[in-house]
Symmetry: C2
Subunit: 505 residues, 2 copies
Amino acid sequence: MAAIDNLRERLAQIHDLGRADSLLAWDERTMMPSGGAPARAETLATLARVRHQMFTDDEVGALIESARSDVDADAPPGESIDADLIRVVGRDWQKARLVPADLRAEMAHASSVAENAWVEAKERSDFAMLLPHLELNVELTRRFADCYDGFPGFSRTYDALLDEYEPEMTTEQMRAVLTDLREGLVPLVADATDNGSEPASDPFRGEFPIASQRDLIRQVISELPFPEGSWRLDSTQHPFALSISTTDVRLTTRYDEDNLAMALFSAMHEAGHGLYEAGVDPELERSPLGNVRSLGLHESQSRLWENWVARSRSWLERHLPLLRERFPASFDEIDVSGLERAANRVERSLIRIEADEVTYNLHILIRFELELEIFEENLPLADLPEEWNARYRDYLGIEVPDDAHGVLQDVHWAGGAFGYFPTYSLGNVIAGQLWDAAGRDLGDLPGQIADGDLDSLGGWLRERVHRHGRRLSPTQVLERAGAGELTVEPLLAHLRERVALAVQA
Amino acid sequence: MAAIDNLRERLAQIHDLGRADSLLAWDERTMMPSGGAPARAETLATLARVRHQMFTDDEVGALIESARSDVDADAPPGESIDADLIRVVGRDWQKARLVPADLRAEMAHASSVAENAWVEAKERSDFAMLLPHLELNVELTRRFADCYDGFPGFSRTYDALLDEYEPEMTTEQMRAVLTDLREGLVPLVADATDNGSEPASDPFRGEFPIASQRDLIRQVISELPFPEGSWRLDSTQHPFALSISTTDVRLTTRYDEDNLAMALFSAMHEAGHGLYEAGVDPELERSPLGNVRSLGLHESQSRLWENWVARSRSWLERHLPLLRERFPASFDEIDVSGLERAANRVERSLIRIEADEVTYNLHILIRFELELEIFEENLPLADLPEEWNARYRDYLGIEVPDDAHGVLQDVHWAGGAFGYFPTYSLGNVIAGQLWDAAGRDLGDLPGQIADGDLDSLGGWLRERVHRHGRRLSPTQVLERAGAGELTVEPLLAHLRERVALAVQA
């Protein structure tokens, strides 16, 4: 067997164990009885260990070396699947060899335990319950980053963390984008929230029986360009999406009986992630090239469907009859302009996942800055609630009443995911650029959406973004999609329109 | 590290992969979108391959050998966990080494594909759709049995198949038990069904909205001695139970809007299996000793809760108010005696899982005989429907109208499980013996059940049966539980009482 074929088969088997891992993670958050937690932590740790051992095996390194002569190693990205595989997996292998299997297993185990502790800590709004788990996570993450000392392109602790979620993007590049964004955002948020205008009435607040919400959302998701029988939707505390394969996509949303916007826009968000996973070239199935790795690019897809599509006037206009049919008391009296304003309210708020588009990135900035302080300035974790609350006061002008509405609101740190948050803002930036590029190619995008044609946009995204998997970097994807270099301008222009809508109200 | 500790840790990791496998299997049958099927088959095949490679490694054999000197190898079963581990795993390892990893993977893949084909074949009642998959399964199973040529205790093809489900029981021993049973059953079935008495009215047939059935069954299951937060119940085409750990038990049942007995007694059956898995000694968690292997013993637990408990007068009397509350139209007019007769009807029927206790074992005999013909007399698989239908005519006196109600009714052969069916009858035999032994120890068992005390029986079974896991053989379990040697008499005595009830009606 040629080295490249042998390599592909080994990677496919490792990929299969990754699918098992995905299912275990999905089940843990959606289906598992609480008594399953200890065994789940052990199982995830073992799977992490076995996958790591299989991948970091000397023979895999030897196969990568041998396979270089089977492929055109100089082919530019996107031209040859095999050449792309060698390039991407070669770097993965170099990186993976630097981290001991025991440490990987310890991290997987600790974060599984901590995620369960987080559920209870959040319910009781008791940061102290999470603190020891968080301390262990941070200590393990430091040891993880230390493994990469001297790795090409890494010049500081946070570089190694960010690279897990946004490969080949440095802390400095990320900081530059977020700084541009902050400079554009601060005056915008002031315009939007300090103008004395009355907040629009909010039809998304009221009484929405969960069974009816579920029916509505199933219908909305089924209009999206997913193949039939390729997805399911469940409820969870913290919405997420993942795929077991391109035709087995698991979406979740969170239902709140008083707030329809929560479940509806979360579901559209997660569906955007799911469409990305479903749109990867079937030739990349069972290959590490099919595992989407840039979370920025991934988040661009969720935000695009959540914000650019589902909060657009044309999508809302098309769905107003459906909303009225399900929830007449809330929607019978409102017109399209009112609905558009309601879906695009701007207000200083406490919870990231409930935040409007305009203030959202301030929530991210706070987390990014705290992560840098934790890992590069040794911020004591016990001070985290106080530091968190101080920043919400400074940046958003609001008091955090308790930790459940503050530092405990997100699962990420409990899950050991440091370096993850900034990719959310990067996703918004990329979504703005892709939306503009798609509009230039497709013509009357709002008109298509108003007509219920979501396949045109879906097809464009699949072709220009999804199908590449890991073969292209985010900047290569942007460039080839006709969106140019990374820039915050399209996002800021979009947010200015949102603010104009809010102020006009 | 001592060899025994090293061995335990390796086996624990393999056990973790087994847990992942269990979850994949549960999800495939309860949750997975249809598009997930191809990837699921690949994933299950890879997991089977990796587990097999890890277990059959030379080092595991060397550790077993070294560990023999760490333990008292002559300790009788049940005295030393480590000695039991060496004994049981030593035999497993010898067996596993004889089967190539490729064959295991091929079997896992083929049965996953065939199970999906079976769902459609059954829906369309089209045996031809399943036939090629079945032929592949049989061919692979033959190759599997051939691997054990000359293995101690195996003298014929079917011995190797049976040993997968009923370790260390031979085809001849099984045939002896089933022959005893048949001799007792034939006159009984004739008495029960040819006596000219009117069939009892059946309150379990009617209109039962599935949501109400689900609520009722959740309540019934929650009365059983499961720890809180250790189980869940879902719906599926073919009910089953499995556990991911002793505190993560997955039960399923099948809802039929016209037939409450289907979901209710299936759920009690699967809960019996689940209680067994939940009752294994926590010290055996993550050990192969905790994987219950004798399906006969396993089935004894499901049948005991389904038939000896849930169809008893005392259990039915206690639950009649609940049935009336949920389904007044069906149960308001019936008294306890009528309910008892309805739950214990005897009739010649087509579907094994709907069959009454008395005729049930005839369904099993048919499958056992066909399996012996397939593997030891080369019965062509294309003739299976005809052979099946002929036996239903001979033994049960009924015509099979189509394959969905005949040879396609069970998933087992599609799943590659040959040698599995006879363990169902063995389970009935063992259940009869254990019920009698428990009654002798616990005193007024019917009175306890009538008072809603299920913990006494549950505790007795946990202590005498469940906690041992694989440490004791079924015959050792029976003997130590005070149930004596394997004998069909207690089962036949129990069935005679059922028949008396039917004839009296």
